[in-house]
């Protein structure tokens, strides 16, 4: 059926190269793709597979050191090598694009109304005043509440999901033939992700445009795309109808990707296991405003009377959307934030402990962060990074001893010990996350708070990191608090789940109970959004 439709974008032998100090890097190695009118093509692949660079190359949006070769024809018109002026006739009008990061892809200096009007005025002429009516229509179309008021809002006044809707409105302004969506929902919460995808789907029905969806999330692809192209290392390894690819994958890589969904369960610890970390009535308040010459302050309660008891060997999964206070809770439990409430570590009451008193306990209470790029200091070698804790907690160790411990820790997380002389920027995301884990493990902690440790990683790498974390837990009898918005990972990692919303616990219980029979409507939406997009 879809085969009958006209091909609107034909990519043949497209190559994208980047010249770097270490020679040319081939990001895309001569790929062929076809996009037919009105269909949804998903381009799937892990980070670095060249899926975004392909589209950037076609749109002429490559970084300065990038070059594009080959052919990309839009309704017969060659786009590659077209001068920017001629290219502008097509891009922004016939082919439009939405990006991953709605926070940064809108200009904070202009109202959203003006930004949506920009492509209309540019491509169709007229004034901003004339375009206003059309902008209102578009805002209504993408489901922004109260478009009449929102049209004069600035981007920072909108939530992430609303900004992404604004981006979509901008992309739709000139009724494009082809919409390229580059990871449009990756930065959004699951429930909002579902809404945005629904919106795209309904808009597609209405306007009959084709969508190229670039994503690494196979869950989205399955429910959203008609055809799939799987990319790896700059090549298309497999292309075909979504159902075919999911049911009968041909390429090994595709099989691997499909199998990468985290699986398995964790058995709960024995009931008699002692409680190792406890927080009662945990509250964290942030002061908003205030200052030398400003008047009153208001208080924002990020975590509101949360109770949490972590048993030895247990993993508590904390789930919730962004802003639900789950990360703040983790930091409060580690006493890294000023907070009120009662805290116990083992048998010690640590409620009133100041930083000096906490210091000796730090080695047993460790933290692993979400962003493997930001959590490692770029100017220190891996060896220096992972032995930093020893420097504080075991200052008597000699240099050689520290080096030996670094080697052990790196081996434990499955990295080559020789890598301790290298710098973080030379490693991939997954490897960096292993380094961050090694930094926590070298101190032989009892409790590790994992703050979205897998969110920034590709699915297949995610699986490996989860496997590693489970291994470490078994070997050392660790207790984890696993903070994540990714429910499938939480399901695989934890034996107890806490669902948070607006700083409060909405529901808690054993993993099976929560996932099989959620009681609260919020939990139901969350699970619904995550598992059947």
């Amino acid at each position: 059926m879809a085969d009958m439709k006209e091909t609107i974008l034909a990519v043949r032998g497209l190559k994208v190269n980047f010249s770097t100090p270490d020679g040319t890097v081939e990001a895309v190695k001569g790929i062929d793709l076809d996009v037919r009118s009105g269909e949804t093509l998903a381009v799937v692949g892990e980070s670095g597979s060249g899926k975004s660079q392909t589209m950037m190359g076609i749109m002429g949006l490559l970084a300065n050191n990038g070059t594009v070769n080959g052919s990309a024809r839009y309704r017969g018109q060659e786009l590659v090598g077209l001068p920017p002026k001629a290219l502008n006739q097509v891009r922004g009008s016939k082919i439009t694009m939405i990006f991953q990061e709605p926070m940064t892809s809108l200009d904070p200096l202009y109202t959203i109304g003006r930004q949506i009007a920009e492509p209309i005025v540019h491509h169709r002429g007229g004034t901003f005043r004339q375009a206003r009516k059309r902008v209102l229509e578009l805002l209504e179309l993408v489901g922004i509440p109260e478009p009449g008021r929102r049209i004069d809002s600035y981007p920072h006044e909108l939530s992430g999901g609303q900004r992404q809707r604004v981006m979509i409105a901008m992309a739709l302004a000139n009724e494009p033939d082809l919409l390229i969506a580059d990871e449009p929902t990756t930065a959004l919460d699951v429930t909002i992700q579902a809404q945005i995808l629904d919106l795209l789907k309904s808009l597609q029905k209405r306007f009959g445009m084709a969508i190229v969806l670039i994503t690494h999330d196979l869950g989205i692809v399955k429910h959203f795309a008609e055809r799939v192209a799987v990319m790896r290392r700059g090549e298309v390894v497999e292309q075909g109808k979504t159902a075919d690819i999911f049911e009968r994958p041909q390429a090994d890589y595709t099989k691997m990707l499909l199998a990468a969904e985290p699986s398995g369960r964790k058995a709960p610890p024995a009931d008699s296991a002692p409680i190792i970390l406890e927080g009662r009535d945990v509250c964290v308040d942030y002061q908003i405003g205030g200052g030398l010459f400003r008047g009153g302050t208001s208080v924002f309660r990020a975590v509101d009377s949360v109770n949490l008891r972590l048993k030895e060997g247990q993993t508590i999964g904390v789930v919730g959307e962004s802003g639900s206070g789950k990360s703040t809770l983790g930091r409060a439990l580690l006493r890294l934030l000023p907070s009120s409430g009662h805290y116990r570590f083992g048998t010690t009451d640590i409620s009133g402990f100041d930083r000096g008193q906490m210091r000796p306990l730090r080695r047993t209470l460790q933290l692993v962060f979400q962003d493997p790029y930001g959590s490692l200091s770029p100017r220190r070698t891996v060896g220096e990074i992972i032995t930093e804790g020893l420097y504080v907690h075991e200052p008597e160790l000699s240099r050689a001893d520290r080096d030996r411990r670094a080697i052990e820790a790196l081996k434990e997380v499955g990295l080559d010990p020789a890598s301790r002389n290298r710098y973080p920027h030379e490693f991939s995301g997954g490897q960096r996350q292993r380094i961050a884990i090694a930094r926590a493990m070298i101190l032989k902690p009892k409790v590790v708070i994992l703050d979205e440790p897998t969110s920034a990683l590709d699915r297949s790498v995610q699986g490996q990191v989860i496997e590693l974390l489970r291994d470490l837990q078994r070997k050392h009898g660790l207790s984890y608090i696993f903070i994540s918005h990714d429910l499938s990972v939480v399901k695989a990692m934890s034996d107890y789940v806490i669902v948070m919303k607006n700083g409060k616990i909405v529901e808690e219980g054993h993993t099976d109970a929560i996932f099989e029979a959620p009681k609260q409507p919020y939990t139901k939406t969350l699970i619904g959004a995550a598992f059947n997009v």
């Binding site: 030398l292 210091r359 730090r362 770029p378 220190r380 002389n421 290298r422 710098y423």
Partner: protein, 376 residues
């Protein structure tokens, strides 16, 4: 366990490239910046090693050569010497038949009606220009005398100033002082500014407020006023110049570092360090300061020329280095006063000054490009 200990430590090929090494690679590919580096090295060599190769000292006065223009010819030139020699001959009541100068020696042939007394050579030595005059040969029964001796010929490729001092040496000395002031004062401002800014930014809150208000108060004090006060209190000395300039320049540095620190503070590796139990000072020293290095280095390359300019301004006011010591700034202000009568007094120090500033700016640009990761 034991076998792990024996694994060879750090095989050379696994040595990673740090961000700094990557930056150095990018820097080396920047032609303008490398040329700037090269020029700076040349100027530093010229200023610091140059005086070893020039026989004059910076405070040596040549009364015979006041305000003479630059020339590659030795002074006095041959025609002047001819005139002087003729004067000498007249005084000695002899006739000059032949006169030649070759390098540092001269030969002259003088004749007279009567035999010439060999002691007539004293007349030659009495002139400033000649010395060690000796009779080489007597001819015509002593009526013709061939004498030879040394000429004091001086080279002033840059000319001399109005006191008769060699401008070449003075430019070298000025370079020494300007470069030293530029570097040392920048280091002083770097040291104070980085520590102050990092501390203020990292600790934040009330401490930050107090520390930054202090900076603003210091900002609002007029520079000259501050200098005059310090000079009055501590007396005039060379060290004071570094301190005064450094004490003023660190304010900018502190603000830049504070801004950087505020951004770095939110980075997760700082959070990780806190979770590891590092103290504030350890975090500042091990994580904050090393990561501010990029913008700081770039800013230093801007501060150095600024400091050199400030120093010349102070010298111009009479608060900087004092004669006979000098700096490029002092030389330029002196040259500016004599621009009509002796333009070279302005031109030479200005050339060196401008080339140095240009080179520093190129190097600064190069460093900024090299250290900016967005370039990649």
């Amino acid at each position: 366990m034991t076998d792990i200990v024996q694994t060879p430590v750090a095989t050379p090929e696994t040595k990673g490239r740090s961000l700094f090494q990557l930056a150095a690679m990018r820097f080396r590919r920047n032609r303008a910046a490398m040329a700037g580096c090269f020029m700076l090295a040349l100027i530093a060599l010229f200023s610091f090693l140059g005086p070893l190769f020039v026989p004059h000292t910076y405070d040596q006065v040549f009364p015979s050569y006041v305000s003479i223009g630059p020339s590659l010819e030795p002074r006095p030139d041959t025609s002047t010497l001819q005139d002087v020699m003729e004067g000498v001959a007249t005084r000695a009541r002899v006739t000059l038949k032949e006169f030649n100068v070759e390098g540092q020696t001269f030969t002259a042939t003088v004749t007279s009606e009567q035999p010439i007394d060999a002691r007539a050579t004293r007349y030659f030595d009495r002139a400033n220009e000649f010395r060690d005059t000796q009779v080489v040969a007597t001819e015509d029964d002593g009526r013709t005398l061939k004498v030879t001796g040394q000429v004091d010929r001086e080279y002033f490729p840059f000319g001399t100033d109005s006191n008769g001092r060699d401008l070449l040496v003075r430019v070298m000395l000025g370079g020494q002082i300007s470069i030293a002031v530029g570097l040392l004062a920048s280091l002083v401002s770097l040291g104070i500014g980085v520590v102050y800014g990092a501390t203020s930014g990292y600790i934040g809150g009330r401490v930050d407020n107090v520390m930054m208000r202090l900076v603003e108060i210091l900002y609002s004090l007029p520079f000259v006023f501050l200098v005059v006060v310090l000079v009055v209190f501590f007396g005039r000395s060379f060290i004071l110049i570094f301190l005064v300039i450094g004490a003023v320049e660190w304010l900018d540095m502190a603000r830049i570092v504070r801004g950087q620190t505020l951004a770095l503070k939110r980075r997760e590796f700082v959070g990780a360090a806190q979770a590891l139990g590092l103290t504030d000072w350890q975090i500042i020293r091990r994580h904050i300061i090393p990561n501010t290095i990029g913008p700081v280095i770039v800013f230093v390359t801007v501060v150095v020329p600024k400091v050199i300019l400030l120093e010349s301004f102070l010298s111009f006011l009479g608060l900087g280095v004092q004669a006979p010591l000098t700096s490029w700034g002092a030389l330029i202000s002196e040259g500016a006063n004599n621009i009509q009568s002796a333009p070279w007094l302005l031109i030479f120090p200005a050339i060196f000054f401008v080339v140095t500033l240009f080179s520093l700016n190129f190097v600064g640009d190069g460093l900024r490009d090299a250290l900016d990761p967005k370039d990649r």
